[in-house]
Structure formats: C-alpha cells, structure tokens
Amino acid sequence: MALKGNLRTFSIVQLLNLIHLARKSGLLRIQGPKGQQAELYFQQGKLAYASLSHRPNNLLDILYQAKRLSGTQYRALKQRAAQYSDRELGLMLVNAGYFTPIEILNTLKAAYRDVVRTLFTWREGEFIFDSHAPPPKGKIFVRMGLENLIIEGSRHLREWERLEEEIPSLKVAMKFVDQPRTNLQNLNLSPEEWRVLSYVNPHNSLEKIARALKLSDMEIRRIVYGLLQAGLVELVRPENEPLPEIKLAFSDRPKEERLSLLNKIIDRIRRL
C-alpha cells in the first residue's frame, strides 16, 4: 500500500521520521512548487539516494559543483564518460586514482543532504512513497541515517501554529523514552537542545524548563518538537500534578463487581 499525502498537512520532517522509525525501504516522490520534483530512495530507513528535477544529479556534475574536479577535468570526463552510469563512472574514477571510494561517497552524501534541505522549504506538495518501486538505475547509493536530518528539519520548521497543535500545553513534562530508537552518539544537538535535554525529568513541566532557560513558549516548543521527532523523549503528565477529579464509571464498585459488569458488556457485544 503506497503512502500518499500532501506536505501541507504531513510535513517532510514527519515523513522522514516515519521512514526512519518504520525502517522503510522504497522510493519517495514529491511534486514540489513550480513543477519541481524530488526523488528520494531509502533502504531500511536510511537515505540512499536523492535528486531534484531542476538540479544536475549525475555524479560528474555533483563532483564538479562540489569543486572536486577542475573545469578541464570536468569537460574531458564529460566527453569520455557520457555513456557511463554513475556507478560505472565512480568505479572508473576510483580505479584511475582520481578519488577514493570514501571521497566519492562523502561528496554524494553532501549533495543528497542539500536536496533534503531544499525539501525543508517546501510547505506543500503531493507525495507518494512506494515501497515496491525499484531503486533508481545505475546510481550510487549511500547509507545516511535520518536522525540529524530530522533534527535539522525541525529547526527549519517555521509553522508555529503547527507546533502549538503538536504541543498544545506547556504544563506537560518530558521523560526519556525507555528504548531510544536513536543512537545518542550520532546526534548533533544545538547547545540549547542540550540545555533543555539536561532538564528532562517528569517533575519539570515545559513551562518550568522554559522559565529556567529563559526561552519563549515557541522556542521551548520548537526544541521539544525536535527531541520528540528524534524519538529521544516523550511527553508525560508532570509527576507532582494531581489528576483531575473526573469520576469514571464503576470507580466506586469493588473490583469483583466491576469485572462482572464488564464481562456482561463483553458478552453482550459479542452477541450483537
């Protein structure tokens, strides 16, 4: 089943988060503004390939734009290697001693990262993620974890209303998730994010943390949103906050009686 939607209501950060957490493999196509199109290929939740329709996306152009090739080298190779796929060209460049495999992979990673950064500026666009689509032919695949891109994307998020929707109240607290799905050592957090992280404790409401760190409501929301999306923390009711006085059904009955009433309801619904 393909995932379809629009970035207007399901942002690129949420989409990357979904792919990251579900360790999805497949091709993500996004129809962006002014007829632009993006194609990203993922393998087990990691970014393998990314391209934009209005930007050169073959290896030779990427190396030249990254200033890894001189103009003369670029023109000579372009003539000679026009018929080669990126993989063949990469192999040829490595065998000829122009580059090491690591240099090529790092240049591609930087280019793919730039593609994703461009996507952070797209506020709307139809997307479709197809987990059965074949990988793009002849391209070189990298393995880029999405954690840092997700954090970076969150920093770019300028939709304050959405942040408010995500974290409607600052009276909630945070706690570290029991089994973080993100390796802490691979995270690049900003100093402010680290400062907020040091206050993570079910006793500290977000309101309290914001006050202590002199952050505005929106700043604390933005930072907490990033930490949530990275799967580091979850929101909880502050431990010192009393539960509201709402009387639940059967709450005044002994346990045996409550169970008996519930079993009656279960039996009846089964028979419907």
């Binding site: 089943m1 979904l18 109240s169 059904a249 009433l261 309801i265 279960i266």
Partner: protein, 188 residues
C-alpha cells in the same frame, strides 16, 4: 437501572456517527447541522454539533450508551462534559486523510488530560485504497507500543464490535494494573 458510557471521539468526518449507527439498537439520536465553512462542506454536507447518542442494552439492569463527540475544535467545551463517568474512549481516525492526524493527536491528548481512562485508536476506512497501514498510523500519531490501534470499517458491524471489545479488554487490563499497583503500595 445502571448506565455506563463509551465516548467516541476524533476529527471531523472520521466516521464517529457511522460507527455508533452500526451497533446502536436505537436510531442514533444525532444532532447534525448543515455545515457553513466551505472547506468542511467540501468533505461532507452536515456534521455533529452537540453529540450522537446510541444505546446497547446489556441486561435489564445495565445499559451502555455510546456518545459521539463533535469533531471540530470549536466544540472543545463539550468534551470535558462528555468524559464524565465514562468507561473508556475510542479515538476514530480517518486512515485516508493524513491532514487530520494532527487534530486526532490533539483530541487524544485533550481526552487523556481529562481523566486517566483506557482508550483505543480505531483506524477507520481501512477498506479504502488510500488507507494508511495501522503501524504507519501508530508512528504518525506518535503512539506507544502499548496503545491499541485497531483496524476499523465503521460500516461493518463485526469490525465495530472488534473495536469495542478491544476497548473493554483494555479496561480489564487497566483494572488489573491498578490493583497490582495498589497492592505494591500497601506492601510498602
């Protein structure tokens, strides 16, 4: 006569009214009104403004009421009133409309803040081609592994029964947990 209540909540057009209609033994008392907002009217013509009300008689002494809450945020004030005295609640989500997932999460958070009541998430419209998978929905709604996300087709009686039963099983599990916590505390 004892009455208990299950609240069915969720964003606009998630299928709450249909869900109740499918299992209620009475014609659902629905307070639908013509929609005024253009964007909402594009999705459906009328919506619930106060609540839907369905009934299942359990026996001569016990009746289960199903209350459907209005979907739009401008009716927030109703939710707290409806959650008083409930057994648990169901958050209906239209699996084909990712643009409503944010609101579903907000509604879920609001209900959770009213009372520590068991709940399940019903991933409705699973029969449609564009429906998101249940596990994808879990991630999109940022639900923990312990939260039950039940596939649902609100027009199908068996499917609706399954959602209700999953909620009731969760309530029993919740009571067991409460009891073991109380026992641990009394031992200390």
């Amino acid at each position: 006569m004892q009455t208990v209540k299950i609240v069915v909540t969720g964003p606009f057009n998630a299928g709450k009214t249909q869900f109740i209609r499918t299992v209620s033994e009475i014609d659902v008392v629905s307070t639908e009104r013509k929609l005024t907002a253009d964007t909402e009217r594009q999705v459906k013509e009328s919506t619930t403004v106060a609540m839907d009300f369905g009934r299942i008689t359990i026996d001569e002494n016990l009746v289960l009421y199903l209350f459907g809450t209005p979907g739009q945020r401008r009716f927030d004030f109703m939710w707290e009133i409806l959650s008083e005295g409930m057994l648990g609640f169901i958050v209906m989500v239209d699996s084909t409309r990712p643009e409503t997932f944010h609101e579903a999460r907000s509604i879920l958070e609001a209900f959770k803040s009213f009372a520590p009541t068991p709940y399940v998430v019903a991933a409705n419209k699973q029969d449609l081609e564009d429906a998101w998978d249940v596990e994808d929905l879990r991630i999109a709604l940022r639900l923990g592994p312990n939260v039950k996300v039940v596939p649902c087709i609100a027009t199908d009686k068996e499917s609706v029964k399954r959602v209700l039963l999953e909620l009731l099983y969760s309530i029993i599990e919740y009571l067991d947990e409460m009891e073991s916590t109380e026992q641990q505390q009394s031992r200390r």
